[in-house]
Amino acid sequence: MKQFMVFVRKEFHHVFRDRRTLLILFGLPIMQILLFGYALTTEIKNAQIVIADHAKDAASEQLISRIAASKYFTINSVALADNEIEAAFRKGKVKCVVVIPAGFGNDLLHGNSAQLQIIADASDPNTAKTLTNYLTAIATDYQQDLYPTANVPLRIEPLTRMLYNPEMNGSMNFVPGVMALVLMIICTTLTSVSIVREKEMGTMEILLVSPFKPTYVVLAKAVPYLVLALTDFVIILLLSVFLLEMPVRGSLPLLFLESMLFIITCLSLGLLISSVTSSQQMAMLVSMMGMMLPTILFTGFIFPLENMPVPLQVISNLVPSRWYYMIVKAVMLKGLGPGVIWKESLVLAGMTVVLLTISIKTFKTRLA
């Protein structure tokens, strides 16, 4: 046991002295979360909007203040004339105009259907669609707050009819996927590289000649990275909860346990890679490139698996991150318990056992 701790401590020394490893370990998750959370999102934030308020009553002002308060829009200016609206679009800065007709509040209060015009710059169709959806949501929301009793007929009648869940937050889709991706890359890359480095440097031979058992060498390599990957998991979780406002609806200990399971699966994969490669570059290439693409493709957080041809769907079953992604979504977003995710957990556990057995076996037979 003491020998084991000596080994683990040495491993930590390696990690904290190697700037490259540190960068992968802590730079990668932070960068990925920020990248997916802010840059690579279909969400549009602070879109410039022009309001043409012809009503100028209490209802229209309330609606405008709601739009202004939303993080999606910044009110660029208030215009009234049609030519002003067109000029605003021409400049290209304004993405959307909301026209509130005269008598809006009156119509709303007296039970007539109130109309609202949304004009969007559709030269970028996706943005236009998203923005109109946001505005519709805000209007619907406002109406529901006015008449909390259910089943009130739609009184504000925006011209766009598509409903959008105002709570829908773009990062929700990405965070579980990024978690899976980052943990997968980190665990496989760092373990495989660190073991292969010992082979390359010749220190592995010394370890094998020592009374320290080969199996322990493998395990002692895995333990520090388990701890570090869990730290990463906590960092990602904190970033997503506090920065990206992700909810954690399910049990946190369960999420932690499941992540630990997934990390162990990835570590086993890293060990396997290390026992079939003989240079650090090779190990890096296999674990970074070889894992990154399947993870992105087959996890389902960017490309829906349901739309893939059957053979590809079958292949996706072999990708551990796919199962972890399902678990995280279920626990974090839907707040489901172990009863629902036992199957996914079992798959991960099974993969771990298989990978670990193969890697310890190949590790040993290399010596005979």
Partner: protein, 247 residues
């Protein structure tokens, strides 16, 4: 401690059709400096790996430190030290951390670690380098440190696989002083080398050709036997007969 450090009878290792080590037999006495010579690809490393418990012989018998290489590999590992031709300390650890790590792996207690570590550092005159990263030390120092670390747990036998490769003559000389000091303490030295001047420093040497041991005696006797003036000539005379090409 009077028993032989290494006893080897008909040791053979085959990889498929290839016989890497072909029926070699030799004994090494406790405290002896035994030179294990041979061209590249002659089978030295394979033989050494079997003796270190890293691979099983195909046939034959061998005992290292009195333990059987088939059944008691773990006991062998506790009683030997090993230093390979590749530099084998961790460059990103300090001198002291390396000592503590290897000592720790061999199960030395904290007190032993401290005692042995201090003794070793004084012996090498490295008091000022204790906290330096090993990677920043000159090669000669690294090799001397690696040797001292390899015998920190006072093994009965230490295996040195081309320990002085790439080291300058002065440092090599100093390295051999360390080897002599270790041998005087009763540690058996089993060393492979390509430097024939180093071969002369050994008590006895064996020369492997194509997996066989073709010569085994003291350097003086070998020179006489081959009517040579130097070990170089002895080595060439034997190595020329080799049929296997070096890898």
């Amino acid at each position: 401690m009077n028993e032989r450090a290494i006893v080897c009878k008909g040791l053979t290792k085959r990889f498929g059709d290839f016989i890497a080590v072909n029926n070699i037999s030799f004994d090494v006495d406790q405290g002896e400096i035994f030179g294990f010579l041979g061209a590249n690809g002659a089978g030295k490393t394979t033989a050494m790996r079997m003796l270190c418990g890293l691979s099983y012989p195909t046939s034959g018998e061998a005992a290292v430190a009195g333990y059987n290489v088939f059944k008691q590999q773990e006991a062998i590992k506790r009683n030997i030290g090993y230093m390979s031709q590749k530099f084998s300390l961790y460059e990103s650890l300090t001198v002291k951390e390396n000592i503590r790590f290897y000592g720790g792996v061999y199960g030395l207690s904290d007190r032993q670690l401290k005692e042995k570590g201090d003794e070793l550092i004084t012996q090498l005159g490295m008091e000022n380098e204790v906290k330096k990263m090993v990677g920043s030390l000159p090669l000669g120092w690294k090799q001397k440190l690696a040797f001292s670390v390899a015998i920190i747990h006072q093994p009965r036998i230490v295996f040195l696989d081309e320990p002085t490769g790439g080291v300058d003559p002065v440092t090599r000389r100093q390295f051999w002083d360390l080897i002599y000091a270790a041998a005087e303490k009763g540690i058996t030295i089993f060393v492979t080398t390509h430097y024939m001047d180093e071969a002369e420093y050994c008590n006895r040497i064996s020369i492997m050709v194509d997996g066989r041991i073709d010569a085994l005696d003291t350097p003086a006797n070998l020179k006489q036997q081959f009517r040579a003036t130097s070990m170089d000539e002895v080595f060439y005379a034997l190595a020329r007969s080799a049929k296997r090409s070096a890898d």
